[in-house]
Symmetry: C2
Subunit: 258 residues, 2 copies
């Protein structure tokens, strides 16, 4: 295995730029991830191009050698440059970003749409719950945390590549497109809404639409949806965390057989 | 309002000790919290004894003056000693800890029991979900994150005082006591378990029992319960976050009328 001894190595600089910049990830069609469990998990569904390993990680996890792509041994000070967490595990990968578009959305499917959900932890958690509960894809509006940013990847634990993730622009026209395909779009909102326990998905498919942590959905997006649902709560709490509330909605509309 | 100018003031040292030590919180029957929203929220249901405010906070939130207890103005360098977060809001309180025991557990009620859930964020999240979904109390085994520790309070957003929280020792005898009251105890476990969608709570009350993030419930606790339930998932993810999984269980067994 070739060894990288310099922090200025071009491959290292490229990987760091992927980690730091969403625009660079988009223009290159690649993303960067770190983690002894996360990298193999991502490699199950996304093309691993480059794997960087410390000697300690290679010794501890001999099975990493079976992963595809070009492998490089990196010295600890080089790994420290790649690492974005306090206790790095010495395993880093550059992957091809799976490309998905709204055209793949199919009638009868189950979708999650997020509008302006800014926290990478919440976006990652919701990707993980959507994959767990048999959803067919996730649509992110502009203003959402980037699905392939390192923090989001950690929170999703690799789920981002386990189902199609579609990065779209503004949400209302997306809702219009889904409804034209016969998919019922349900806005999560507190007011003038149906309690979740009574809400049923129609046979044409369903899209659960969730807004930002602070403001919720925009009026335009709520107006574009078929109807609104809410999670009924006692008055002992003001709100639920966005990842929790969204996961409960996803569980309610889970795939057949779950 | 009396002003505290020294970091060595006895009241400040007392508050810091409450923030840092679970044993001290227990022996004093008091806890410490910080936050412009959290302190008034906690004061709705727990007795606020002492409120510390910076001049900036007092000016920004004049309504804090209406809170009960003794109020003290603290200089910024004193507030910095009290603060446990990067961007402190200059509002801190010492509260009486509500005291609850297993004797309060009543037949027909809805309870959450946590065994060895160590992450304060998960314990706080589950307290918040339990309050939201009409539960009558939460029982914590030894080894759980402390419910009145600053991090747990932040994650629960004050829910810790909105429903009885009972700190117990080992879980299996607690389960025995609940079952003697006719409460059905459901262990969350992956194996030999019923899918959640099919699980119904009996009329005698229900207790949802959730284990630690890594290991789940102990064998002894699973054996002590009436039966086990699981959240069915696709094979695209390995697991759900403990706060998410627990909140979905709580939603499923939510109070009547929600």
């Amino acid at each position: 295995m070739e060894k990288i001894t310099s922090r200025d190595n071009a491959r290292i600089k490229y990987a760091c730029k992927l980690a730091a910049s969403g625009a660079f990830r988009r223009s290159e069609g690649r993303f960067f991830a770190e983690g002894r469990k996360l990298c193999p998990e991502l490699a199950r569904a996304a093309q691993l191009e480059t794997l960087f390993l410390t000697a300690a990680a290679a010794e501890k996890c001999p099975r990493l050698a079976a992963l595809p792509g070009e492998h490089f041994l990196v010295e600890d000070h080089v790994a420290a440059k790649l690492a974005g967490v306090p206790a790095p595990q010495g395993v880093f990968g550059v992957f091809r970003t799976p490309a998905h578009t709204l055209e793949e959305v199919r009638p009868g499917g189950r979708y999650l749409a997020l509008e302006g959900v800014q926290d990478p932890g919440n976006v990652g958690t919701l990707l993980r719950s959507a994959a767990a509960f048999g959803f067919d894809g996730v649509i992110l509006s502009e203003g959402c945390a980037a699905p392939y940013a390192p923090k989001t990847l950690r929170a999703s634990m690799g789920a981002a590549v386990q189902l199609p993730v579609i990065e779209a622009g503004a949400m209302p026209p997306v809702i219009g497109e889904l409804r034209r395909k016969g998919i019922e779009c349900l806005a999560a909102a507190l007011y003038r809404s149906q309690p979740l326990g009574d809400a049923k998905a129609g046979p044409g498919g369903v899209c659960v639409v969730i807004g930002s942590e602070g403001q919720g959905l925009t009026e335009a997006t709520i107006a574009a949806c078929d109807r609104t649902v809410r999670i009924p709560m006692t008055d002992r709490v003001e709100s639920l965390n966005a990842g929790i509330a969204g996961s409960i909605l996803l569980w309610h509309f889970r795939g057949a057989g779950l």
